[in-house]
């Protein structure tokens, strides 16, 4: 029987994998680990919808991918920190301010982590937050429009990696700096690098999230100079606390690979943010100068604006006691994850051969009893054993991240041994392990970091792809793998390629948002200063060397479509209003020689392309989004004359 043979081969390859792990650290064979009926279990029939949205970070592409589960199909790419020629994000006049920073226009970032908004610790999926790692920023996406609505820069941060995790009612989204740096004025910060221990500081910033999602930098805690890696908020009984993993508590500033791996234990930093709020209410804290950009999209004008902020409220927990406690955690912890009940805090020491699990109840008692084993830069260190629930022994090599299924089980990704290990949170017993292909980073269970996981599927986001797909030269798509975790054993169902380099992803039931999607923007509500409400208002106006084209688009023509009287040296602004009021009918606009990109205008919106003609001649423009049977006819001509020309400015349609 053919099927039997397949199973036998699978069993053999599994045995080889197991041997490989026993002898080396890495599976030697790719193998086929999937179960026989895997295809039918991930099949979403034509016209049907996936059960979950998976919001996936794009890493070095600065974008977010929206993926359907269980099919693994990519549904959309949302530009966040990176300019996106596909729709003009970062190129149109309206979207450029969204990428403004205190360093000016920064059209790229490294987007690592996703946080989906929660209420009472459960996904409500109003917004997705994402971190910009390189030029520290946090972005907020509206999950009814799938647009980036807001970006706030983080001052006194350098490498916003420990971010954008959120509290259980989305009170705060946080930003912990990966790199500690001097945090005084620009002049004060000009210090010798080898004065790290004296001059470098860490910060963790708490961004307040308003009812409409609006972000504001509420306060910043100044900490000892260490590297913050990841973090999670407490929930349920531990609501009011935040837990940050740290490494380089050695405070090395060179060859961190060796010098930041010296100590047997680094720390998880426990932050009592309710205590910090009390201090602020009592008037504590210092307002200090800080420059950071705060950018917001206005849906009525379809335009983003950027405001440069001037100061930030800082608290020094060395002086303001009881905000910060350090919990020893073995060997450079990477992930710190809180179980659905809020009782257990899992530290994943990426160089450790065990996984410590801390108890919130024990932590509180240790703090109450002042059960400390010393101080770190003036902050109390909790006695390790006093906060410890227990350890998972020999789980594998290189534990990174842990998610939960809501049935008392935890799933930890093992980078070095390239596997996922399932274990019991109470008994700490290893229940199952499955190889991943290859070298898993983050893993994601729908609702996995929340108080209410949907423990049906799990996605492994792998760092290495090698032979999993048809080869495409030196660079390969990063591999993701979908597992069924509804039974006792994890079962591999599907491999799928991804966009960019996914780090973290969150998933939630599609029913939370799919009936709330915005389909059009009402043209009546368009308050763009250069809106053209109707073809009768289409026109061209000159203001010095600026030419404003008030243009409309509807299937299948632009108004106007003949323009003359533009001169070399002019800046031409095409303000294109899409008069369509039907779902899924954007129009695009592009003109020959534009040094930017196209603009893609949603129904009812106005977007502006700036164009500086460099020579006289006739320049065609056209619609770039196939819109109708007469799409190829949706075009026009613009005449450019020499700078000293006397050709009158005029525009027309159908004349």
């Amino acid at each position: 029987m053919k099927i039997k043979q397949v199973f036998r081969i699978t069993a053999v390859s599994a045995a080889i994998v197991a041997m490989g792990m026993a002898t080396g650290c890495r599976p030697q064979t790719s193998g086929s680990q999937s179960v026989g009926d895997a295809a039918s279990r991930v099949y979403v029939a034509p016209g049907e919808h996936d059960e979950f949205y998976n919001i996936v970070s794009g890493g070095f592409n600065g974008q977010i991918s929206v993926v359907g589960l269980p099919s693994g199909r990519v549904l959309k790419i949302v530009p966040v920190f990176s300019a996106h020629p596909e729709n003009g994000y970062g190129f149109s006049e309206e979207s450029k301010p969204m990428l403004n920073t205190s360093h000016g226009y920064v059209p790229w970032d490294d987007l690592h982590h996703i946080a989906i908004s929660t209420t009472n610790g459960e996904h409500d999926a109003r917004w997705a937050f994402a971190n910009g790692n390189n030029t520290p920023r946090i972005a907020r996406l509206n999950l009814n429009t799938f647009e980036t609505e807001e970006i706030i820069e983080i001052p006194n941060s350098a490498g916003n990696h420990s971010s954008p995790f959120i509290t259980e009612n989305t009170e705060y989204v946080i930003a912990g700096t990966r790199f500690s740096v001097p945090i005084g004025t620009d002049e004060d910060n000009d210090v010798s690098i080898d004065t790290y221990k004296k001059n470098f500081r860490g910060t963790v910033s708490f961004i307040k999230v308003g009812n409409q999602g609006d972000m504001s930098l509420a306060f910043q805690l100044v900490t000892p100079g260490v590297n913050f890696d990841l973090s999670r908020a407490g929930k349920g009984k531990s609501h009011g606390w935040f837990f940050f993993s740290t490494y380089n508590t050695e405070q090395a500033h060179t060859l961190l690979e060796v010098n930041a791996s010296q100590r047997d234990k680094d720390f998880i930093m426990a932050v009592n943010w309710k205590k910090a709020e009390e201090y602020i209410k009592a008037g504590e804290g210092n307002l200090v100068k800080a420059r950071y950009a705060h950018n917001k999209l206005d849906h009525n004008t379809h335009t983003a604006s950027s405001t440069m902020m001037e100061e930030v409220l800082q608290l020094d927990p060395k002086l303001l006691k009881d905000i910060i406690y350090f919990i020893p955690c073995p060997k450079s912890p990477h992930g710190t994850d809180v179980d659905p009940t809020g009782e257990y805090i899992v530290g994943s020491g990426k160089l450790a051969a065990l996984i410590p699990v801390f108890s919130f109840t024990k932590l509180m008692k240790a703090i109450e009893d002042k059960d400390f084993e010393g101080e770190y830069d003036g902050h109390p260190i909790i006695r390790y054993e006093s906060a410890l629930h227990g350890v998972v022994d020999k789980p594998g090599l290189g534990p990174l991240h842990t998610e939960f299924d809501g049935r008392g089980n935890a799933y930890t990704s093992m980078f070095v041994s390239s596997e996922i290990v399932k274990w019991d949170i109470e008994t700490l017993e290893v229940l199952d392990r499955t190889p991943t292909f290859y070298s898993i980073g983050h893993l994601s269970i729908p609702g996995g970091p929340t108080a209410k996981p949907h423990g049906k599927y799990m996605v492994a986001y792998n760092k290495i792809t090698k032979d999993r797909y048809l080869p495409t030269g030196p660079e390969l798509a990063h591999s993701a793998q979908l597992f069924d975790i509804s039974g006792d054993k994890m079962q591999l169902l599907l491999d799928f390629p991804t966009i960019g380099e996914p780090h973290y992803a969150e998933a939630f039931p599609a029913t939370l948002i799919k009936d709330k999607q915005v389909k059009i923007y009402r043209i009546e509500d368009n308050n763009h200063p250069y809106v053209t409400k109707g073809a009768g208002n289409a026109r061209v106006e000159r203001d010095g060397n600026k030419v404003h084209v008030y243009m409309t688009s509807i299937r299948s023509h632009f108004a106007p479509d003949n323009i003359e009287g533009v001169k070399v040296g002019d800046d031409v602004y095409f303000h294109v209003t899409n008069l369509e009021q039907d779902w899924d009918v954007p129009h695009g606009f592009a003109i020959k020689g534009a040094n930017t990109a196209e603009i893609l205008i949603m129904p009812g919106a106005t977007q502006t392309l700036k164009w500086t003609p460099d020579r006289p001649g006739i320049f065609p423009f056209y619609c770039t989004d196939f819109c109708s049977a007469l799409h190829q006819e949706m075009s026009g001509y613009l005449r450019v004359s020499p700078a000293n020309s006397t050709v009158a400015l005029k525009s027309s349609l159908g004349e």
Binding site: I520, R522, G534, A535, N537, I554, R555, Q581, D582
Partner: protein, 159 residues
């Protein structure tokens, strides 16, 4: 089974009549719905009561909607651009047909032979411009006035 809803539209002092509308009738098989046979198209609008006078307030609102959402494709004379010119529309089409075409264009293009004939001629599906029943009635008033001014006649297709 038809559930009749009554839309009362009163603007200023002028009572311009009532519109009776129903939930969309989905007819099975090859049976052409009664409303299509009557030249009223298909959609929410089953009966429009017109008044002899033109309500200028409604015309004004109707014109602003026309300028914003319709004028790109429909001229006010008899010239076809993307879609047909509006001149004589109320003399050729029943008010119910006009309002159903505006508010229920996708179903009209699927089921109404007159609408389908227009699509074959223009080769451009008329877009759904998200116009409410109330706004469609204001547009109708604007069309009536346009016909009256250009041809001296309006509503000739009512009976």
């Amino acid at each position: 089974m038809l559930i009749a809803l009554l839309f009362l539209i009163s603007c200023g002092g002028g009572d311009t009549g009532t519109i009776t509308s129903t939930t969309t009738q989905s007819s099975g098989g090859d049976d052409e719905p009664q409303s299509i046979r009557e030249g009223k198209g298909i959609g929410e609008i089953t009966h429009v009561e017109l008044t002899a006078d033109i309500d200028e307030n409604m015309v004004e609102v109707g014109k602003s909607i026309y300028d914003m959402k319709c004028s790109s494709c429909h001229k006010l004379n008899d010239q076809r651009v993307v879609g047909p010119g509006f001149e004589n529309i109320t003399n050729r089409r029943k008010p119910e047909w006009i309002m159903n075409m505006i508010t229920n264009v996708d179903v009209m293009l699927d089921k109404d032979p007159e609408a389908q004939a227009m699509l074959e001629e223009c080769l451009m599906r008329m877009p759904n411009q998200n116009v409410s029943v109330g706004d469609a009635r204001q547009l109708l008033e604007f069309m009536r006035k346009n016909d009256k001014e250009r041809t001296g006649q309006m509503d000739a297709a009512v009976n």
